[in-house]
């Protein structure tokens, strides 16, 4: 395990589910982790945009719809081992169940922050792995976006 990865574990950014993803990657499915993570990024950004626009509603906030989006985000974050993001989703969900508007705002801010951090770190991780692979003489396709 490289230093960045163990750092991320130590910080609770990632949990053992991420390791499970890595274990599922092999010669028959050499880009499995980056494929899954890229789908996750794409999906999560859409959900985060939805959540922000739902929160921007001046009048009646649709807490139920927020809850649905949150469940999706929570599920997929948990599935890739994004522990801190998952935990913030849990807190966010509690706020929606309490119709706590201010709490929802705070949770969304935290969620966006955690998500950005996760995305940056995972990109870094993939870069490190790519460099290693290149050094080892193996060619991996470059994953963009």
């Amino acid at each position: 395990m490289n230093r960045l990865l163990s750092f991320l574990f130590h910080q609770g950014v990632l949990d053992e589910q991420f390791l499970q993803l890595q274990q599922l990657q092999d010669e028959t499915s050499p880009n499995f982790v980056s494929e899954v993570v890229n789908i996750y990024f794409h999906q999560s950004e859409k959900l985060l945009r939805n959540l922000r626009s739902l929160l921007m509603e001046r009048e009646l906030m649709d807490y139920k719809k927020m809850g649905i989006d949150l469940n999706q985000l929570m599920g997929s974050s948990s599935s890739i081992g994004a522990k801190r993001v998952t935990n913030v989703c849990v807190a966010f969900r509690v706020a929606t169940e309490q119709n706590n508007r201010a709490g929802c705002f705070r949770a969304l801010e935290m969620l966006e922050h955690e998500y950005c951090y996760l995305k940056n770190k995972l990109h870094e991780l993939f870069q490190i792995e790519q460099q290693r692979a290149l050094a080892a003489g193996v060619r991996y396709p470059v994953q963009n976006e």
């Binding site: 599922l24 028959t28 899954v36 789908i39 948990s78 706020a95 709490g103």
Partner: protein, 239 residues
Amino acid sequence: MGMAAESQFHVLAVDDSIIDRKLIERLLKTSSYQVTTVDSGSKALEFLGLCENDQNHHTSTNIPSVFPNNHQDVEVNLVITDYCMPGMTGYDLLKKIKESSSLRNIPVVIMSSENVPSRINRCLEEGAEEFFLKPVRLSDLSRLKPHMKKNKVKDPRNETEEKIENSEILLQQEAPKSQYSHSESESQSQLQAHSTIDQQQQPLQQNNNNNKRKSMEQQGLSSETDRTRQRYSGIATVV
């Protein structure tokens, strides 16, 4: 692949989340199962309808694009489904399968990200074989094997009811002409009645079961780990 002696168990995985579908597919393939994934309960039933198809309507059903042609053996040895899905939930799907005379012998496993004992009990009571907490791990999949074997091997100790249903199959055993394969279409394979599919499958599986069981054991099955651990540790963060 495609060799008669190595025909694999076929699992139908149902989940509305694309990430979870990718995950479960990879988990199942890594465990040497053939996999079909669908994103809803209704699509699952549609797909299962192909398996219990009788000779009367093998041309008119809407075939998913997974299959290159209409006339192919389709058999599902286990259904694994997410609980929370829009429209038909995993529980609804379970019920429908268990209520169907042609499908109810197919073992069903439920997955859920939430650890709700009443939900778990309800599913088990309705006939689910197992309940997995998400995210599902490789070690969880070792619990699938015994359920699939139960379905394939015509055990004389089975209840009378099953025996009667299966007697047709037991009497009609013949050497398989073509090799059963899920992923490659065999020109000879016809989309046949469920019982005919079984009759081809059954002799193939007998030899294979012991080998598979051995290899599964060698993989170091985890003991029946109780996966009732909380997904989200402790108290949620207060914002």
